[in-house]
């Protein structure tokens, strides 16, 4: 029998967990205790997946998990100035929560002028005030336990972003959750956790941004959960520009209720090995999920996107567009699962994965995975792998634009479609800027 999980390398994570736990000094609620205990036990049993595991076929986690990562116990060690914060993240108007090495920094965060009833705050303190609300949702969706990294994240829940939008409230400015990893003595791991609840008829935009300030090795193991209430609109944008030496494993789970609209856009620039697992579950009729992503994969990088859209009820729609730009010896993966459960008649789902190969050494594995158990559905999917078009380059050159600039313009143009799906203009502009500087490198 093939070995789907390995227990090698788990011990150092268990040791690190003990260290983390003792650092809490009993400063922990009963709820957290229970969730943690359950999660670490599960992790201990399972360990990490091997490439024999179907879901981890392309991503060998050994180079990640053989590192002796340590969670950062206190942020006193890392004084952070405002300049570090503003230089490293989206600076537009937003309700902003800043975390450094996993710890909340109130002095750099701003939640002024929130509409009545809206909660935007650090998950740590929030658990005391809103215990019942958080307990009902956090780590309650079994999916999150199938994934060893998500389980580890749950075991380490301490801080992160908590966003609650009450009924019929429309939040104009986005909520910006900025997760920074800064230099440290040890090889650091952080476990950012985000919980978003949009009540019926509400609307919000959440940005999860992950950034490393230096060229260092560290691990970000993140989980975001969203409960998208009836007839509410949630835009969830993930901007990942970690250090090129870093590892990033991030999952998100969205549960959509009746007539909910969920828009997930995952932008991946950084990291040495990156794994994105966005999930959307359509759990009420009339729901719509748009799952988009852009991945720029360069020298020595692996970016693996495993997306899942689960149609559980009738009359829902989903739309998915993932685009990849692969250069040098970069390796990209797109695996797009669409489940249409037996009850989910009249599902309408479109999936598209497009890849631009800029080098002969780059590699892309693309696989749609449609599992359809209902008969009256419309599901289309397509994948393309191409190069820059010679005639387009010639057209630009014939106008005086040099070859290199022409290639960059067309590469940028290929990517913008995904970014233009971001409705917030300031955020869109920011991501375009990041793309531009990545292409200029």
């Amino acid at each position: 029998m093939s070995k789907k999980y390995t227990t090698d390398n788990t011990q150092q994570f268990l040791d690190a967990f003990k260290l983390f736990k003792s650092s809490l000094n009993g400063d922990s609620t009963g709820l957290w205790e229970a969730k943690r205990a359950e999660a670490i036990k599960l992790f201990e049993e399972k360990g990490f997946p091997t490439t024999k595991h179907e879901e981890w076929k392309y991503t060998n986690v050994i180079p990640i998990v053989r590192n002796h990562f340590r969670p950062v116990i206190s942020n006193d060690e890392f004084p952070v100035d405002a300049e570090t914060v503003s230089r490293n993240g989206f600076g537009g108007d937003a309700y902003r929560l800043v975390f450094i090495n996993g710890h909340f920094l109130p002095e750099h965060s701003t939640t002024k002028d929130l509409p009545d009833g809206v909660i935007v705050g650090s998950l740590g303190p929030a658990i005391r005030e809103h215990t019942e609300l958080i307990a009902r949702h956090i780590a309650s969706y079994s999916d999150s336990f199938e994934h060893s990294f998500a389980t580890l994240n749950t075991a380490h829940i301490r801080d992160g972003g908590f966003v609650f939008i009450p009924k019929n409230v429309c939040l104009e400015n986005p909520v910006h959750l900025l997760y920074i990893t800064a230099p440290s003595e040890a090889v650091v791991v952080t476990y950012p956790r985000t919980l978003v609840i949009t009540e019926s008829g509400s609307q919000a935009t959440i940005i999860e941004e992950f950034v490393g300030t230096e060229l260092e090795t560290y691990l970000t193991d993140s989980v975001a959960e969203a409960i998208v209430g009836e007839n509410s609109h949630l835009s969830h944008i993930k901007i990942q520009h970690e250090s090129r030496e870093a590892y990033h494993v991030g999952a998100s789970h969205a549960l959509l209720e009746r007539n909910a609209n969920y828009f997930n856009n995952s932008i991946s620039f950084g990291g040495r090995i990156v794994r994105n697992d966005p999930w959307a579950v359509l759990n009420g009729e009339g729901g719509h999920a748009a799952i988009d992503g852009l991945y720029l994969v360069g020298k020595d990088q692996l970016i693996d996107n495993h997306t899942s859209i689960d149609h559980r009820v009738p009359n829902c729609t989903s739309h998915e567009l993932y685009k990849g730009i692969l250069s040098e010896n970069g390796h990209g993966v797109f695996n797009g699962k669409i489940f249409v459960q037996p009850d989910a008649q009249k599902t309408d789902s479109v999936q598209s994965n497009m890849n631009l190969l800029l080098s002969d050494n780059a590699e892309i594995d693309t696989k749609p995975q449609l599992e359809i158990f209902a008969d009256d559905v419309k599901c289309t999917h397509g994948a393309t792998i191409g190069r820059l078009d010679d005639n387009s380059i010639f057209y630009l050159r014939s106008r005086g634009i040099g070859v290199e600039q022409a290639q960059k313009m067309l590469t940028y143009a290929f990517a913008t479609e995904v970014i233009e799906h971001i409705k917030d203009e300031a955020v869109q502009g920011y991501v375009k800027g990041l793309l531009d500087s990545r292409i200029e490198d």
């Binding site: 050159r397 040099g402 067309l410």
Partner: protein
């Protein structure tokens, strides 16, 4: 004596191993407008693409002097910066490339080459406003991605608009009139006529004599099977329209040239 801008001597070119141009000779002086007419597949676009430097077209012999230097040696972008402009028969769609951004990059590439300062966004916009005014180019076209989803006529207008902004020394228009209604044709012809100055020249490639009512050429050449088989003044176009290419072929003594 008038000054030569383009001198094509015994030009042979092939594409994918097929010899298409079979010895073209053509001399254009500054201040002149030349028209090339010819049946489908005679090599008109091949000539245009060779002049612009498309890599798929291989020059197998002959030479092309542009402003006195060897054009074939130059990269396509260097030709453009030296004032050569090709209005494409089939302009390429560039989804995701903003029209304004594209044109500003093009203009600044030319300006930098000439040792002029790059235009900033504001100055560029002012220039565009001025030029769109006279050319009646809908502003929306420029805010959209280049040619993406444009109608045939919109694409042609966009080519002429680019030409107007870039102010080339030698413009080559490859069937810019094809498929245009009379209003669009006037816009295109106006664009060309406005640029008509003693210090530049135009090569108009067309199927139809109609365009030449609006852009009156100094010389007309008939291209057939990769060669210019007859040249004359503007009356040749009318004669051609009336009697057809076969008449020209016979009249030119086609057999003699092929030998």
């Amino acid at each position: 004596m008038s000054q030569s801008i383009l001198d094509i001597k015994n030009l042979h070119a092939s594409v994918e191993g097929n010899d298409i141009l079979q010895g073209i000779n053509l001399a254009i002086n500054l201040g002149e407008v030349h028209a090339i007419m010819g049946p489908n597949g005679s090599g008109k676009s091949t000539l245009a693409q060779v002049l612009a430097g498309h890599e798929a077209y291989e020059v197998t012999s002959g030479e092309v002097l542009y402003k006195g230097f060897d054009l074939i040696e130059l990269d396509p972008e260097e030709r453009a910066r030296e004032g050569l402009f090709l209005a494409f028969q089939y302009p390429v769609e560039l989804p995701g490339v903003n029209g304004m951004y594209f044109l500003k990059a093009a203009l600044n590439a030319v300006r930098t080459h000439r040792g002029e300062e790059e235009l900033d966004a504001a100055d560029f916009m002012a220039l565009v406003r001025e030029k769109t005014g006279v050319l009646e180019v809908p502003k929306e076209l420029l805010n959209r991605p280049v040619n993406a989803g444009f109608s045939g006529g919109e694409k042609k207008r966009n080519e002429i608009f680019q030409m107007t902004v870039l102010e080339p020394t030698l413009a080559v228009l490859d069937e810019t009139d094809s498929g245009l209604d009379i209003d669009a044709l006037r816009v295109v012809a106006d664009g060309v006529n406005r640029l008509r100055r003693p210090e530049n020249a135009t090569l108009v490639i067309t199927h139809y004599q109609r365009l030449l009512n609006y852009i009156v050429p100094d010389f007309v050449h008939v291209l057939s099977e990769g060669r210019i088989i007859k040249s004359g003044e503007k009356e040749l176009a009318l004669e051609l329209e009336e009697k057809g290419y076969d008449w020209v072929k016979e009249h030119a003594g086609d057999g003699e040239l092929v030998g």
